[in-house]
Subunit: 425 residues, 3 copies
């Protein structure tokens, strides 16, 4: 399964926090990739914690024309042209009157910004600033038509439960509510699909809960129904977003900052030998806002490439398929995959051996002792034996500065040799 | 009430650890500013902890003349000319004999040093080094006359208790035992008077104990009488001294270093955006020596401008009214005032809301969501909600990097909105 | 007793982990320096923890000659020429056949490397790389003769118990198994002898356990017999090795890293004002591998000069008597001696005095108070009084930045003055 191909397939769909676009997206994931995906429908008006599920928004067409019949802006060209949740309109306006309904970015004059107004009735068009300036010069009137609909319907989300031996769970949360944008946000769902498929192909110690939700309201709705289960079972989790470009790496820790999810992510990124900017939780912006809120307090962090809010194309039409690359996606998948491998395999190993064991008689130490003979793998073996004193293997790996995967392989050898035993698997 | 004017009024009085100067100073404070000031008198010879209250020192006149009748040094010109607690004398001496009783500073040849000998009988004159060198050249004898008196009397101190709702107290300690010097030390008492008047003008959650004492022996005497009350009630405190010049800011932490007094002071100084030198408690030099001693262990720190011992004019006649400025005093008052506002308003607020609340429906979040709409005040609101999980507001303010006063205002709004509630006020 | 002379005396002896060389070395120490040294003999084949005591190795002669009778390599010239634990041989070989039994260092072409094969039967010669290259050019055959013997015998070690008032112990461990090398390792045993003699000359609060053991197998054997005693009594310890050259200082902390042994060593090195490289425990290489292993976990660190593995001459014939100096040894002895003085004298002193005591009446404070009168020793006295609040004196010394010895002297004065009292000696 190619992440980039899936992204291309999903890109044109006009998604919002409710409506046909979300359903179409979830249907593709379920039909073509994750047959176990459970799609839930929550009626508009449902009270969820401090929120209410909003009406469902449908949009058929939207355009701005002039008296000559010329089309200035057409939703059919780019679904970002319409402010999300715009109410219907059909009005002739002067350029000045229309301008109050236009949104643009003076610093990025060719980009169409992404703007929404979910919870206040309003309509608007999002346009390149260069176009807006030309529209301001127009001498006649404009005809703004929005053929949209806001009525009781449903909010939809997808949920995939992947059972493992234990009911301890890893939460993988991503959102499917943005229209045609790539790094933020289709990179997240396609990486989540790839991770889910990877998990389904092998035996698992832990269970996994993979969520495809509309951002913010989706996590609120989910919390309103599953708070106790999440608090009881989730041992680590990530919000998957902005993981598709190749320009940099970003890490957003959980609110607590030192949970298993944080430690695994920092470990993996360190041993990928990449430059990483570690952001403060104060700069959070996605569903960790809810997953990590005081009374929920889940161990949820985020490994990203160019973080939302920090790259110039963020929330504009320039965050397109040229920004995200197959390699960028693959590297992000790999980083997350390594974190999952840590969760699957982490544990506490201890020794019953007083003093160092005799490694030589087990073929684990060179029989000729000379300068340098205790370096490299031999040194790692000794260091693992020395620090397996009650700490989990991830801590040992960090202490001795060796990748978890390499430590795990050595621990396996030492377990075989009877020198280490796993505690309370 | 102008701090600088009060300082000018108090400057000429010849103070020492006992005697008329202290009484005159306290009488002015009581009569003109703090009518509730309680002035206590402790008889000479009273045993206090490891110390004994010394005899009371009175001084009428002191001068050095020569055979020609020329006056070389006269206490009437500057009360620093006489070593504090000098015993009476009336003697004709050669220049060499007199020189053994002279004190001067070779590096500051025009300054009169401040020297005392409270606990060993001795007499001496303090002179500019340039004058001392001329006196050494004198060919005749000198006549040194000191008309002083050391006899049983009393040690006096002033104490103002400002009651609040709670019997938890803030200790504000300053000393009134130095003769004519400004930064060290009249800046401390005048700032303490201003803070006391400010406190008296408004309702108070906490109680305040403002002390005007002779340094060292005053805090010993006070501890000997109020140790249990101080240990039981004091939640924070400061020694007010050296807070009058404009040259720099200094912070001396308490012995423990992380008490509420320390945290508030560091917070306030940080958000005043000034350069601050944080000294080690190892360099302490005022009554925190007693307030923070092992068996007392109060949370008492000190915010200063140019710290005692670090500025060239320290303990000389050059620490005069030109060194201290109205602005320097006012800024120091402001720093301390902000600390008191923290003590008054700090507390623990928690939320009952699972997940982020919907701020938009309460007018606390913009209804149009676009790039940057979650910054500034909105970001601060969200960060406060996220970190109000059991920590006090000062900790939250430090965590999110926002001034306490701004956090407090937001907490008030969120309390009004039913989103935060104060725990155990 | 001169450490350097003893080293010269011991240098020529061919030591290994067993055999006559170890016995001869221990006999010299016992006969000439430490009459209380207890020499233990453990039979070959004894099972010790995960190990077995190996056969005893004896060596009479070893050489390589050629058909012309010319001697190319002779063990009689340098005992490093023979790989330790070489099995007997008497064979004519081509240069290529012989080369498989040669060990050399291309980067140090004039040095003979130190190589052993304790636990796998093998024979070999260690030669300068320049000689090896000439031997490869030789056209005839070589005659390799090793007159060695591997048979049941014993492993020997020396142990000196120096009793003190308390049964709390300091462990001083050094190894005596290397042939003719100086920094690694004769510097360790000679420093241990000097420290033991120094201890024997004075009263002691603590007890001391000084071990002269073959490295690795010696600490295993010792642990197999004394684990409980060590775990119960040892409060601090050091492995003495590589303490003879003058080039640098090295510190290897214990596994825990903050034990009394670590804190004392760091304190002493800091106040010696020398440059010290602090290594990670991950780079350990001597018997702390066993003393600090998880189920043993003793507080054992190591103060070294040029650490094993880090200096070019390490484990070669160039680590000879010219590398180590009397001054280098003496400075190392001094560093360790100061650590022992800390162990002997450390304790908790507290005051019963509320507030600062009046130092002046006890002659501990100048009676004239002027700028600078509270500095230096007076400041140290006050700082000690302020921090003696339950922390041990080493912690107080580190907090106030004053050498332990100076603090101890001041504490003595304050104890005399009734201002401090030692808790639970």
């Amino acid at each position: 399964m190619q992440m980039y191909s899936l992204m291309k397939q999903l890109f044109p769909i006009c998604r919002s926090i409710t409506g046909a676009g979300v359903r179409e997206t979830l249907a593709i994931l379920q039909a073509e990739h994750l047959s176990g995906l459970n799609i839930t429908s929550v009626p508009s008006g449902t009270e969820c914690l401090d929120w209410t599920v909003p009406p469902e928004w449908s949009i058929s067409a939207a355009r701005i024309t002039d008296e000559s019949g010329k089309t200035w802006v057409d939703f059919a060209d780019n679904n970002l042209h319409l402010m999300g949740y715009s109410v219907p309109t059909d009005a002739w306006l002067t350029p000045a009157e229309l301008d109050a309904h236009l949104y643009s970015l003076p610093d990025l004059p060719d980009a169409i910004p992404y703007v929404t107004s979910y919870y206040a009735p309003r309509w608007g068009f999002c346009v390149p600033h260069s176009l807006r300036e030309r529209m301001r010069q127009h001498t006649g009137k404009f005809h703004a038509v929005i053929d949209s609909d806001l009525k009781d319907g449903a909010l939809n989300y997808g949920e995939l439960l992947i059972a493992g031996e234990s009911n301890s769970e890893v939460l993988l949360s991503t959102y499917i509510c943005h229209p045609s944008m790539a790094n933020d946000n289709l990179s997240g769902p396609v990486a989540a699909v790839k991770l889910a498929k990877w998990l389904l192909e092998r035996p698992r110690r832990l269970s996994y809960r993979v969520l495809f939700i509309p951002e913010t309201i989706g996590s609120i709705v989910y919390l309103s129904r599953h708070l106790d289960a999440l608090r009881e079972h989730v041992v680590a989790g990530y919000v998957l977003t902005c993981c598709g470009d190749e320009r940099t790496w970003s890490f957003l820790p959980s609110r607590r900052g030192d949970t298993l999810a944080d430690r695994a992510a920092r470990h993996v990124l360190k041993h990928m030998n990449v430059n990483v900017t570690e952001y403060s939780f104060l700069t959070r912006g996605s569903d960790e806002r809810n997953w990590c809120s005081p009374l929920v307090d889940l161990p949820v962090a985020s490994i990203m490439r160019s973080k939302y809010g920090t790259f110039p194309e963020y929330h504009t039409s320039m965050d397109d398929l040229s920004l995200v690359t197959p390699r960028g996606l693959m590297e992000s998948f790999e980083a997350y995959r390594r974190c999952l491998e840590i969760f699957e395999n982490n544990g506490v190993w201890t020794t019953a051996c007083v003093g160092e064991p005799q490694l030589g008689k087990r073929g684990l130490y060179p029989t000729v002792s000379q300068v340098g003979s205790a370096e490299g793998r031999v040194r790692n073996i000794k260091n693992i034996l020395s620090y397996c004193d009650g700490a989990d293997l991830l801590t040992v790996a960090d202490t001795i500065g060796v990748p978890f995967s390499e430590c795990l392989e050595i621990v396996g050898v030492l377990e075989q040799a009877g020198l280490l035993a796993r505690q309370n698997k």
